[in-house]
Amino acid sequence: MRSSVCLGAMAPLFSLLVPLSALAAGVDKTHGVAPNLLSHYVPLKTASSPGTWKCLDGSKEILWSSVNDDYCDCPDGSDEPGTGACPNSTLYCINEGHIGSSIPASRVNDGLCEAECCDGSDELPGVCPNVCKEVGEAYRKVQEEQRKIRKKGSKIRSSYISFAQKEKKRLEGVIETSTQEIAVREKEVERLRDLVEQSESLSAAALEHRKASPLYETLIAHSNALKSLQREHKKHLEREKELGNILDALRTGYNPNYQDMAVLEAVRGWESLAGLPHINDVGKEEEESDEGAVVKAEEEEEEMDDDEWTAEELEKDLDNLLKTDYVSLLLEHDKHVNSPMTESILFELSSYLPDSLVPQYEAFRDTLVSWLQMLGVIRGGVAQENAGEDSKLRQKLNDAEHSLRQANDEKRKAEKDLNELFDREHYGAEGEWKKLEKTCLEKEVGDYTYEVCLFDEARQKPNKGGQTFSLGKFRSWNPDVQPDDPAYYTKQVYNAGAKCWNGPNRSVMLLLSCGTENTIHTVAEPEKCEYHFTGTSPALCLPLAETAEGKKDEL
């Protein structure tokens, strides 16, 4: 051990005979003084013969001989830069051949040779060799390596910046096109709205009367009920998902060795409900068969009536059904009640259908109608009643409004993207991170593969089957510093991931440094469910010219 060697070597240095004066009596008055303070370390020019000296904080005047005498006189510790006698002082090592540096008093004369003091000036003469030549060379070598990486990385980085520039152009294009489209659409909407208003104002009073129809009111009530149900249903689905996550976390996270039978029962219950194998058996089954241990949940065939909607239909079509224009429907209904023609169903069904299905439906309808006409089942080209005319106009208006919304959305999105592109809190001032949006980096550690898709989400994926957990969504860059701090882009926070059993929501701190590749080096979980990833990205490799200056200042 280096320490014992040094301690051993120190012993003979102590004099055995002379009364014990300060061990550092021979220490030079300026030993350990930082270059910028050297001018302060001279005795005060006074007439008195034993020179005096003032503590740097001005609090006390002491004898010049008390400087570096291994006894702390000054409250600010400034009288002992070279001995460590004052707890709050530092010693400056010149480290000729390398870089000078300061160490705290606690490391001065402690028998250990500090790496920061390659010249050995932290210990009494003879204890630590001067190794600055070697240390300096090694340091410069490392610096050179890093410079090379940086150079290569910064080239890649500039390609990211050009990507951002292209993206900028593209987005600007999109904005321009959609702006034009919006203008056209707005006019169209205005025209149609005038028409509809004219048409509908005629029958406004009649409409009010019709709206009082019990059928309409019931329909509205049903619709409201359905909306509420849908809302509640969604809430429950979310709850169920959350519960599932909690139980999954419990299943994988609980200590199966612990004696808590309540937990074990909960885990087994969940496993049977979700059709999962028992967690303790997962590994075993892996070993036994290559097929993997995951048993898919047995989808029980639910019995249901033919006209009942399936879960998928519910999910897809319910929204559209609820978007029905009930006023139009009311008008349709009138017509339907007054003249029981087949037409209304066929022709106006489109108003019940989701937009996406309308074109197919219309094609089908036209074919069907022509067939029916041919067969004489229905009449073609029958004069439309006013109500029908109203409704058609309204439909057109709806379509036009829809298109306008789409155009607006498109524009807004493009504007948002454009803003984020050079937002320092997002893709960086030069947009250098845009290229990496949703780039997924992986690292396998133990039984899991950890993945972070930049600016999106981090995940933990088990290698032997089982549930993938979200470790969090992208939240922000380094929240501890301002965006102009160089450390800002060295840290990303992903949070609000799946909740841990008996713990917090999972989260990730991604620590990045300059490297020629986008990669994750290490994954650790220093606290339960709080992950630290370290990795590199060329997007952090600033061009050499910029950094060189910064570095020089530091030196």
Binding site: P19, L23, A85, G111, Y258, E527
Partner: protein, 975 residues
């Protein structure tokens, strides 16, 4: 009969305490749920209700046999309940006046467990050759002591043993006639209608008929004799009833202390009698209690059946050498007396009575029985940083780096169970700890150490060499049949436990810790000679076992049931591990083993901590009284986890907790795996700075702590001394357990354990000046006792130095304590009212056993007036070793001591760099080393030690007197 009132009372008590959320009361028995305890309490209750109650036990006077030349006698004892059952009594007086009383069943159906004392005692005690017994008609007596002040009286009819001092009863056994040793019987014979089994002789069958007539004493029914089910586990009790009930009375002592470990006050609150604090008795049954309550008689991890009884007149103590489940009721029938009732499940009666008469005498008497606490390695007194878990070798390196970046001292980094692959202890999880030896070398490069956990449960898999070897050796604990390996669940899943009662396990275990290859035998080559050990879960904790431990009918070496040895079982692992650490290096180094479970005698082998506490103010407070209680029972190297194991303490609480920890003998920060990281460097300012100051303060005071540990090692006096120990005659201090003294240094500390405190009261028991350690403010006590108000804002610790003390510190901050070896000393001289002060300093290499060969420095510093009327003060340093050659090191008489021994030489050049003298009467005219030149000094006027004034004391700071710490010198301060 079951006393349901008590049961529900206990439940209510548990439920009414907010911190009880985690404690699973259903996991642990109450007295009412343990058959023998129920019987014991019922016996006491019958005795109370029966005015003509009389003990059935009496000594057969014809059988008394007194040894010649030794103070011991034996006699037969009969029980009127079972005239045919024979008991034997054995009473001895040791050469130091300790009385040992043993009673066992003779020629019984089985043998009661009688080995408990042999595991606790250091040696068979020497009997007195001077004291002699006088056999009379009614009793056997012996009088002894320098003034013949002690008398032991063994009354024959009924059997009653009492120790008197100056005619006053101090300790009485069976004074309340609750003594009952349940004799062995067969299951069939114990049933009234049962028929004698084949091979059973007529006499046993006779006993059957007499069950009912004994109901006045034993109760109407055979309650829980043969089987007991608790929490789904059935105890088969193959030996049937074998419990021991014993009342121990202290008729003239109103305070009892000890019987750790319980989360309660030092001055034990009552469990019976009028309005008891607790409704259940104190229990001794080593248990892994999850989130234990901060005030409860529930048994915790370790057991020391030692109780001090104290009054202003005298201190006495008993050591009840029993290892089975033991419940102890405490009651004060009057303010000046104490009744205790000890109910044990099995084992013989084996009680040591220590006559005192002072607390210090008790410590010496107890230390003579079970040994003193080991002198720890010096570094072990530094700051320990632990967490469940540092997750990788790089994690450990990074924690070390952060401590150094923030210039916070730390000596030891700890690894909890997750370092071990599948919790196979010793076996590194190479995924996260790929380079363990390199990691330890990185830590050791700064003089630091690592402590790694080794738990007693062995994963039952043949690819685990430790389990495989233990299994092959046949040294694992057996299940109740006695042939199959016992299997239980713990961290490692299906596990087995080494039976350390089996001597066949000893050498093998010692060999495991060698860090060099041992041929065919497995050894821990992935470790270093600076890897130290933490033994946890050694109660033993068994997740699926009854009361989270082993079934009582498990079988140990020699055929003893687990119930017989449970409370001893826990200490054997750390004891052997400590021996293993000594054996692994040559020359040997002092071991360090932290244990959670312990028993009487554990102090010889290492340190303990108070287990899995909670991060609450309540737990912070009770941690202090628990450490004090452990200390007076010998286990003085103790501490509670700083920060609390469970929970996320807010910064204020953490700061206070570090203040508590820094004034514990064992100072470790630890945290549960579910907690946020809370290493001191992680806090924001101003808290971080406060923690750095606290850590540094601990390090400056290491010479004081080490000296106190030396005292504990040679005299058995605890490192932390409660008020009743320091001021045994001051009634007002008998219940104090929130302030205490550190060794004989004169430092009095009262850690703050409450939120939002800015000042606190400190009790001063004497008419003396006490100085604030930091501000030098002089407070005045009073001979009647007095409370003074001491500032205690968050950055302040109420720490006073008693007038008359000299303490030695090292004030240069270092990263770790071994790096302080060459640092100079500062002497603080706190003058008392007559201008006197005294202190001591013990030093050695702190690591090896070379101190046993006299390689030590032990100095005394005295400050006194040069003449009675003079104001001049002379401070001298003299050698204490030559004054006490037979007491300087533990157990060795230094026949030839060289003041210039190798160690003394190595520190000869270490100087006193500063001297601070508090309470001088005025500015000195001169300060000089006797016969030397004038020294540089600085005087700040203030209150003098003499007189009655309070306020900032006068302070003289002497700069660099240039005297060696290892040599004689004197410094004269002429006032």
């Amino acid at each position: 009969m079951v006393r349901p009132v008590i049961f529900s009372g206990a439940l209510l008590l548990l439920l009414s305490i907010p911190t009880s959320l985690g404690f699973k009361s259903q996991d642990f028995k109450t007295c009412a749920q343990a058959g023998f305890c129920r019987r014991g309490r019922a016996l006491a209750s019958r005795a109370q209700d029966n005015a003509s109650w009389k003990s059935p036990y009496s000594v057969d006077s014809s059988s008394i046999s007194v040894s010649s030349g030794e103070a011991s006698f034996t006699a037969g004892v009969k029980s009127s309940l079972y005239p045919d059952v024979k008991f034997g009594l054995d009473v001895r007086i040791h050469d130091d006046g300790v009385v040992r009383v043993r009673m066992d069943e003779v020629d019984g159906l089985r043998k009661r467990y009688d080995e408990a004392a042999s595991w606790a005692l250091i040696a068979e005690p020497k009997l007195s050759r001077e004291i002699s017994w006088t056999v009379g008609k009614k009793d056997v007596r012996a009088v002894y002591g320098t003034k013949k002040e002690n008398e032991v009286v063994v009354s024959l009819e009924p059997l009653r043993v009492s120790l008197l001092r100056n005619g006053k009863e101090q300790v009485v056994l069976n004074g309340r006639s609750l003594l009952h040793m349940e004799h062995y019987r067969t299951k069939e014979s114990s049933r009234p209608e049962g028929t004698p089994e084949e091979g059973l002789d007529e006499d046993d069958a006779q006993v059957v008929v007499q069950v009912k007539p004994n109901a006045w004493f034993e109760g109407e029914v055979e309650d829980g004799y043969w089987e007991e089910t608790f929490g789904g586990n059935t105890d088969t009790k193959p030996k049937g009833p074998e419990s021991l009930s014993l009342d121990i009375t202290f008729p003239n002592h109103g305070h009892v202390y000890g019987i750790p470990q319980h989360a309660t006050h030092l001055d034990l609150p009552t469990t019976t009698g009028e309005d008891p604090t607790y409704s259940d008795p104190y229990r001794l049954w080593n248990s892994d209690v999850f989130e234990y309550l901060a005030s409860s008689p529930v048994s915790l991890y370790g057991s020391i059946p030692v109780m001090h009884a104290h009054s202003a007149e005298s201190t006495v103590a008993i050591f009840n050498a029993v290892a089975s489940d033991t419940w102890i009721d405490v009651d004060h029938p009057t303010l000046k007396s104490t009744n205790t009732h000890w109910i044990s499940e099995s084992g013989i009666l084996d009680v040591f009575i220590m006559p005192g008469p002072t607390p210090d005498d008790i410590f010496k008497q107890y230390a003579k029985l079970t040994g003193t606490s080991a002198l720890p390695a010096h570094w072990a007194l530094g700051h320990h940083q632990c967490r469940w878990n540092y997750i990788s070798t790089d994690d450990v390196r990074s924690v070390q780096q952060r401590f150094d970046e923030h210039d916070m001292p730390v000596d030891v980094f700890w690894l909890d169970i997750e370092y071990a692959e599948e919790h196979k202890y010793f076996i590194w999880d190479k995924k996260m700890f790929p380079d363990p030896v390199d990691m330890m070398h990185d830590v050791e490069a700064l003089g630091r150490k690592m402590v790694v956990i080794i738990d007693p449960h062995l994963k039952r898999t043949d690819n685990y060499p430790v389990y495989k070897e233990a299994s092959d050796l046949g040294v694992l604990v057996k299940s109740k049949s006695g042939d199959a390996e016992y299997e239980g669940w713990c961290w490692s899943g299906s596990s087995a436990w080494i039976d350390f009662f089996n001597p066949g396990a000893w050498d093998w275990w010692r060999g495991l810790f060698k860090n060099t290859s041992q041929g065919d035998k497995w050894s821990w080559v992935d470790s270093t000679e600076s890897t130290y050990i933490w033994n946890d879960m050694n109660e033993p904790s068994v997740f699926n076992g009854p009361e989270i431990s082993m079934p009582r009918d498990n079988v140990h070496y020699g055929g003893w049931e687990h119930r017989d040895v449970h409370n001893i079982n826990g200490m054997l692992l750390p004891n052997l591990t400590s021996q293993a650490l000594v054996a692994r290096s040559d020359p040997p180094k002092r071991p360090f083993v932290l244990t959670r479970s312990f028993y009487a005698g554990s102090q010889r082998f290492g340190a303990m901590w108070t287990g899995d506490n909670l991060g609450t103010w309540d737990h912070m407070a009770v941690g202090i009284s628990m450490v004090l209680a452990n200390g007076i029972a010998g286990m003085t190297f103790a501490g509670s986890d700083v920060g609390g194991f469970f929970g996320n303490p807010e910064p204020e609480m953490l700061v206070r907790w570090y203040q508590v920890g820094a004034f514990n003998p064992f100072f470790r920060a630890h945290a549960h795996i579910d907690t946020k990281r809370r290493e001191p460097y992680l806090l924001d300012e101003p808290y971080r700075g406060m923690l750095r100051d606290i850590l540094r303060l601990r390090y400056t005071m290491l010479p004081i702590w080490y000296t106190a540990f030396h005292d504990a090692n040679i005299y058995g006096i605890p490192v932390l001394r409660p008020h009743y120990v320091v001021f045994p005659k001051d009634e007002a201090g008998f219940s104090l357990d929130d302030q205490y003294f550190i060794g004989d240094s004169g430092l009095l500390v009262k850690p703050v354990v409450h939120k939002d405190v800015t000042e606190t009261d400190v009790y001063l028991a004497e008419d003396q000046v006490y100085y604030n350690y930091f501000s030098h403010y002089a407070y005045r006590g009073s001979s009647k006792g007095k409370h003074v108000t001491v500032p205690a804002a968050l950055h302040e610790i109420p720490l006073l130095i008693r007038g008359g003390s000299i303490v030695t510190t090292r004030e240069r901050p270092r990263r770790s304590s071994p790096l302080m070896q060459r640092d100079p000393f500062t002497l603080r001289v706190a003058l008392d009212k007559v201008g006197y002060a005294k202190g001591q300093l013990y030093l050695d290499d702190g690591e090896t056993f070379s101190h046993l060969e006299g390689n030590i420095v032990w100095r005394q510093f005295v400050a006194e007036k040069t003449a009675k009327k003079s104001k001049t003060i002379r401070i001298t340093s003299s050698d204490l070793v030559s004054q006490n050659p037979d007491a300087a090191v533990e157990g060795v008489s230094l026949t030839k001591y060289d003041p210039l021994n190798a160690f003394a030489k190595s520190v000869e050049s270490v100087r006193v760099e500063k001297m601070v003298v508090m309470g001088l009467g005025g500015k000195p005219k001169s300060v000089r080393v006797d016969g030397g030149e004038e020294l540089v000094s600085e005087f700040t006027p203030g209150v003098a030690a003499e007189g009655k004034k309070e306020g900032a004391a006068s302070v003289l700071i002497v700069k660099d007197p240039g005297v060696s710490i290892a040599k004689d010198w004197s410094i004269v301060i002429e006032v």
